[in-house]
Symmetry: C2
Subunit: 437 residues, 2 copies
Amino acid sequence: MQELGKQQKMVIGMVGLPARGKTYISRKICRYLNWMGFKSKVFNIGNYRRQICGTDCNSNFFDPGNKDASKARDECALLALNDMINYLRNEGDVSLYDGTNTTKQRRKLIMETLQQKFSEVQVFWVESICNDEDVILRNIQLTKLNNPDYVGKSSDEATQDFQQRIEQYAKVYEPIDMDENISFIKIIDIGNDIMIYNIQGFLQSKLVSYLMNLHIYPRPIYLSRHGESQYNVVHKVGGDSDLTQTGLMYAKQLGKYFIQELEGSRNIKMFTSTMQRALHTSNEVCEFLGVEYYSLKALDEINPGICDGLTYQQIADKFPQDYEERKMNKLTYRYPRGESYLDVISRVEQIIFEIERSRLPVIVIAHQAILRCLYAYFHEHEVPEIPKLNIPLHQVIKLVPAAYYCKETRIKIDPMTGHWEIQDEATIKKVKSFLDL
Amino acid sequence: MQELGKQQKMVIGMVGLPARGKTYISRKICRYLNWMGFKSKVFNIGNYRRQICGTDCNSNFFDPGNKDASKARDECALLALNDMINYLRNEGDVSLYDGTNTTKQRRKLIMETLQQKFSEVQVFWVESICNDEDVILRNIQLTKLNNPDYVGKSSDEATQDFQQRIEQYAKVYEPIDMDENISFIKIIDIGNDIMIYNIQGFLQSKLVSYLMNLHIYPRPIYLSRHGESQYNVVHKVGGDSDLTQTGLMYAKQLGKYFIQELEGSRNIKMFTSTMQRALHTSNEVCEFLGVEYYSLKALDEINPGICDGLTYQQIADKFPQDYEERKMNKLTYRYPRGESYLDVISRVEQIIFEIERSRLPVIVIAHQAILRCLYAYFHEHEVPEIPKLNIPLHQVIKLVPAAYYCKETRIKIDPMTGHWEIQDEATIKKVKSFLDL
Ligand SMILES: Nc1ncnc2c1ncn2[C@@H]1O[C@H](COP(=O)(O)OP(=O)(O)OP(=O)(O)O)[C@@H](O)[C@H]1O
Ligand SMILES: Nc1ncnc2c1ncn2[C@@H]1O[C@H](COP(=O)(O)OP(=O)(O)OP(=O)(O)O)[C@@H](O)[C@H]1O
Ligand SMILES: [Mg+2]
Ligand SMILES: [Mg+2]
């Protein structure tokens, strides 16, 4: 039995001047691929350079005329390349080669080296082109000033030096040409303009569809489970039970929360499942906000097959072997006639695309297993952790995209009193380690 | 409750010289959209021209210097535009404006007209660029020679005239420019090179992902249900039952069929579900062919929810209201705790993309409702017909893409004797009308 996209190893090479979002994009791709089940890792050439050449490198280090520095930089690039190849030879499915790779010569060297070392490897290039001075300045301010390279330097000094670094690269920059006969995607103007060439195979197709949806609007994403349901109260699994009184009260408090949080704005996108407990929660919220939701079967809770309607104790009694198996392998275990977490990841992928694409705030009202999968994608959790992630009832998880990751806040809402308890990232970590004990 | 992609009407404008696949592409898009639930229709300007100006138009008619002809052609374009607008005002979600639209002026006129007539409409342009003389010649031979325009002319005459027609258009052709400030996709070199610009919204995103996968390799697609299962014999719905002896024999005969049909080739892509009856059928075929399959949950049979394991008679007795409802609305009816045909269409969409993308022959071994959905997509059936399509056991449906549609052949395989009975398109139509009585 084959798996889609796993016939060949893949190397993704980033291309672009500094501060064009290469590291941002490669980390997103890496997270998406790992989430989808492709073992991936980013090899950042800048990190190699800092380790080997130190961090006291001003823009002169990047002058293409500086022979010694160029030699050192080439060595770093090759070291990263070798580590990347080893990773693929061992456990990796996809390596991301995160560097400027701005000359045809460099790209050719990489292609030739890879073709020597592997009988069969796919190479896919991702070039980010951006000529908007404001965006570049913003990128520098957000991500370069607190770079190890600029410890002890003032903002202005660092900004100026970085801009000079960009100019050094620009002197020799050769954007990807079709003549190079490589498979690539050019992301121009933060994705407004995209060019793809010679796309090969399942994974490259998927990546292009994925990358098309990315943008850098810092819109918040809110995840919440439905309010307490009747099955929750009796600890039954599955079902399509309705909200309890408490659950209904949570739904109303959730509506009030959002009115305040969104300052009365209706410009949001709300997604929910087709199950009663989620629909009824969403109905309440929508009444408060004056908006409509999208109800998608793809957000329905994990299907527990023959265990539907049983408590965990009943499952342990009736199907002891399955119960044990699930405890051992909660990620891959598939309920007979039902689903596994891997199946759920596969079906909520389209929701990830819709959330990524949205420039408006997004609210998802769904279910525990579903939100575990979505949350793991946004918050860069290892896939094996997914089935254990803590997503309790009556809590909103707010994720705000920052430079490379999401800032997380949790808002516990008391269904009775409507009182909010806001937990920031540090508290969330403490709660998590407590639960792990 | 909102539906993804239905917030605004959409017009898709085709752009390109003659014989660049505009009609081919617009018909595929139209079929895909209808299948996905977006009421769509193609408005072919050539058809309007033929109706109004007659079919006796040689290449001089297309000379931009020919004032009378140009005026007539403009009028046809506007008539088509008006009909298209009316369609959107009434029942349509998407109109496809299938014409050359090769000048900026023409495109600007269309944009302005649409913006006048609609407060909110999305316009998306699809340009096909092809400079491969062999491909163009092939396109002319396949699709232009038997055009109403060339009745009574010899192949050579017609080919030459058509090539002159292309040259008339080429004189004034202005490929889409980013300055025009329109959303577009340029499909260059039959999709090897693609440019997208200013993509807006759910539907445009989907269309780009879809179009990226298209090619014109005439690879065959084979659809077959699993062999007879135990539940089939007792007329039970759902379940995960195994093959009967007869079913197993069909699986082996199917393997033998494919060995002959594919002439021993192993260069194929095979997809099946995760259900026993399909897996065991596929196992047999794979043993004969020496290939491996992809087992995808997306191909699992429609989930009959609470009716799982019941016969249709039992369903009629236990759930008479549901039974009646399903009879009335078989397409939209969702089994309680289960799925509807619309849900199935949504989940097999990814399979459609995989099949489209494949340049190798494709074999799908799956289930009745699943194959009804896939078959309807490839064979251009109206969506409401899907639940009634005739997909019996022990029969292979072979679809071979031709110029604008798929040629269908059915091969009935006797599980006992291994005897094949081949039904061509005409016979299939006869059988169908017989079953409709
Ligand atoms: N397509 C894009 N174009 C321009 N900027 C982008 C794009 N995508 C993300 N960004 C922004 O880029 C910033 C991160 O820059 P990043 O560090 O990834 O650049 P880089 O190209 O890796 O720079 P360097 O070459 O110095 O490593 C973030 O502020 C992010 O919002
Ligand atoms: N992207 C493409 N580039 C070139 N040819 C294509 C492409 N897609 C499909 N084709 C081929 O185009 C042929 C059909 O041509 P079609 O009639 O659609 O061209 P057209 O542009 O509509 O021509 P006309 O302007 O005369 O109406 C088929 O043989 C098909 O295989
Ligand atoms: Mg970087
Ligand atoms: Mg045409």
